[in-house]
């Protein structure tokens, strides 16, 4: 078939006029396609939003990291722990892991402290964490001002502290480097302020991310501090070694804790893999739903195109008489069904984006609208137009011109 731009344009505009003549019918017939593309775009945007959120959270935990968290024990478990001489999570565990596992590059210890901070506005009571000096690098934090807690501070039990960005901001000009801050009954010198991290407060069942912006850090092992830790973070030297390091760490912990389950291990990389697996299932479900809705929508289009073709039998006869070949007729009706479905697709995308925006606004869901989430449903609707328009168009082309002309 030879291609001439103005012939193509005139066929398109004619098809458009035909569709406009049956406004209600055309609108009703594309409803299925509209719903189909709408669900596709909504699902892509919501799925992608959820995925990006998970990935961001996991990346914040650190892909190379392994978390060991202390678990609160019940009375009987405490008894058992005492029998088996398990000392709970402590800095010795971290040292043992660092020595015992060759792929571990660093470990960091953290202990949450309940204490009130004096001299701040009454309405803020920031969480306080006693940490080892490696915490900064293991969590990939960076400093805005001053320095982080050093090994020397821990050795000498220096009363120093580092503030999260938001805390420093909230306390205003009052607290600066070198300022004093009273925690319980001790005076701490502020030696550094952390740079702000892009963090969301939301928590997820599997992962909870500490919001460093709102925290105060002090050296670990300060006098009159209990020895048991809240968390040990083990960092592998490379992401490839994380799984292996995780297994080795588990063995070391099992041995040193005499198989008492007073700790829990968490590997963000494994969570990421899990999330990817869930996403794969999600993608399959998404494609199935999209396929079904487009199938239903497409059948609607096919139905209406069959009606159009039989309605316009005479027109087909006339066109054949003035020189239209079969391929011209096929092309004409295909164009019409593609126009119909792409109109439906466009409407679906517009409504879908609106729905996604509304959802993001009202329910505060994380959604991501990207090029793919628009291109995919649009191209699907065009393809549906070609696929479901083909049979009616072919039927139109195969009509005997003479009997088509006789048709009333």
């Amino acid at each position: 078939m030879q291609f001439h731009p103005f012939k193509f344009i005139s066929i398109c505009s004619l098809s458009f006029r035909n569709l406009l003549q049956h406004r209600l019918r055309s609108a009703l017939s594309i409803l299925g396609i509209v719903c189909g593309t709408m669900s596709v775009i909504a699902m892509i945007c919501i799925g992608e939003g959820a995925r990006q959120k998970t990935v961001a959270q996991i990346e914040q935990l650190g892909i190379r990291n392994i978390y060991i968290k202390a678990l609160p024990l019940s009375e009987t478990q405490k008894q058992k722990a005492g029998d088996r001489l398990s000392p709970g999570l402590h800095t010795g565990d971290a040292e043992r892991i660092e020595k015992g596992c060759p792929y571990v590059s660093e470990t960091a210890c953290l202990k949450e402290i309940r204490a009130s901070v004096m001299g701040l506005n009454a309405d803020i009571s920031p969480p306080i964490a006693a940490v080892s000096s490696s915490y900064l690098s293991v969590l990939n934090l960076s400093l805005y001002q001053g320095r982080f807690i050093r090994d020397l501070d821990i050795q000498n039990k220096n009363p120093v502290c580092v503030l999260g960005y938001r805390i420093a901001e909230k306390t205003g000009a009052k607290v600066h480097i070198g300022e004093w801050l009273r925690i319980e009954n001790k005076i701490f010198t502020v030696v550094g302020i952390l740079r702000q991290t892009a963090q969301k407060r939301e928590e997820n069942a599997a992962i909870s991310v500490r919001n460093c912006n709102e925290m105060i850090f002090v050296p670990i092992n300060m006098p009159d501090m209990e020895k048991d830790l809240t968390e040990i973070i083990v960092q592998a030297e490379h992401a490839d070694r994380v799984v292996l390091s995780g297994k080795m760490t588990e063995r070391i912990m099992e041995v040193s804790h005499h198989q008492v389950d007073d700790y829990q291990m968490l590997v963000p990389l494994e969570l990421l893999h899990q999330a990817q697996k869930t996403r794969r299932i999600f993608t399959v479900v998404l494609s199935a739903i999209a396929g079904i809705s487009l199938l239903v929508g497409g059948i609607g289009i096919m139905n209406i195109m069959l009606a159009t073709v039989s309605e316009r039998t005479k027109e087909i006869g006339i066109r054949r008489a003035v020189g239209a070949a079969k391929t011209d007729i096929v092309f004409q009706f295909l164009i019409e069904s593609v126009i119909l479905t792409s109109l439906g697709g466009t409407a679906g995308v517009v409504v879908g984006i609106g729905a996604v925006r509304l959802l993001a606004f009202m329910a505060e869901w994380d959604t991501v609208i990207n090029l793919f989430s628009v291109i995919l449903p649009l191209s699907m609707s065009v393809l549906a137009g070609v696929f479901f328009g083909l049979y009616p168009a072919w039927q139109a082309a195969c009509m005997d011109p003479v009997s088509a002309l006789r048709h009333e």
Binding site: L14, Q21, A321, V322, G323, A324, A325, T327
Partner: protein
């Protein structure tokens, strides 16, 4: 439909020379329209061949045949067969959509020229529903001759019109014939047939009285 084969035409040997104005007459159901459709390459005969300019017309593909129809054959029907959605101008321009490339400007010029030839220049933007029968038939003729096809096939072109309007239509045919075009016209009316140069009678699918 076809539970029994119907032999509409039986052994018609017909030679039409270029520049002729032939009228075909005969009783209803004798196969006149069928013959015309075959001459216009719209229908294929079960047997036999049709040579046009020495070329076997039914050897080619659908595309070639359709292209030939667009460029070399013009049809005029009893019930006009215009597309109701299109106005006069667009109806007349229809064959250009299926022919080789003619520039848009040239198309417009030709369409306007034939519309002027049939005297519809002030009806150009009207839809068929807004036209009288004679005007519709003149539009159909304009559409048939816009490609300057050489062969004009008319199936009872005056059948739905009063005699005065019919005269007008026949004048256009005659003019076209004088300009060198071949015209083949089916009619039931002796007076109409008298306008043609030659006349042929068909009965039961065969030529009853050979053309004079």
């Amino acid at each position: 439909m076809g539970n029994k084969d119907v032999h509409v035409l039986r052994g018609i040997d017909l030679l039409v020379s270029k520049g002729d104005f032939l009228s075909i007459m005969g009783p209803s159901g004798s196969g006149k329209s069928t013959l015309l459709h075959i001459l216009g390459c719209l229908d294929r005969p079960a047997y036999g061949e049709y040579l046009l300019d020495g070329r076997n017309m039914f050897a080619g593909s659908d595309r070639e045949l359709s292209r030939f129809r667009a460029e070399h054959i013009g049809f005029v029907f009893q019930s006009f067969h215009l597309l109701p959605m299109l106005n006069v101008f667009e109806n007349v321009a229809l064959p250009f959509q299926y022919s080789g490339s003619v520039s848009l400007r040239e198309q417009k010029r030709r369409v306007k020229e034939v519309i002027r030839q049939v005297g519809l220049e002030n009806r150009m933007l009207h839809k068929p529903a807004e036209l009288s029968g004679g005007e519709m038939q003149r539009t159909a003729i304009a559409r048939a001759i816009v490609m300057n096809p050489g062969i004009l096939l008319a199936d009872e072109p005056t059948g739905n019109l009063d005699s005065e309007t019919g005269e007008h239509i026949l004048e256009i045919f005659k003019k076209y014939n004088h300009a060198g075009g071949t015209v083949i016209m089916i009619t039931h009316d002796r007076e109409v047939a008298a306008h043609a140069r030659s006349c042929m009678y068909i009965k039961d699918g065969t030529i009853a009285v050979p053309s004079v």
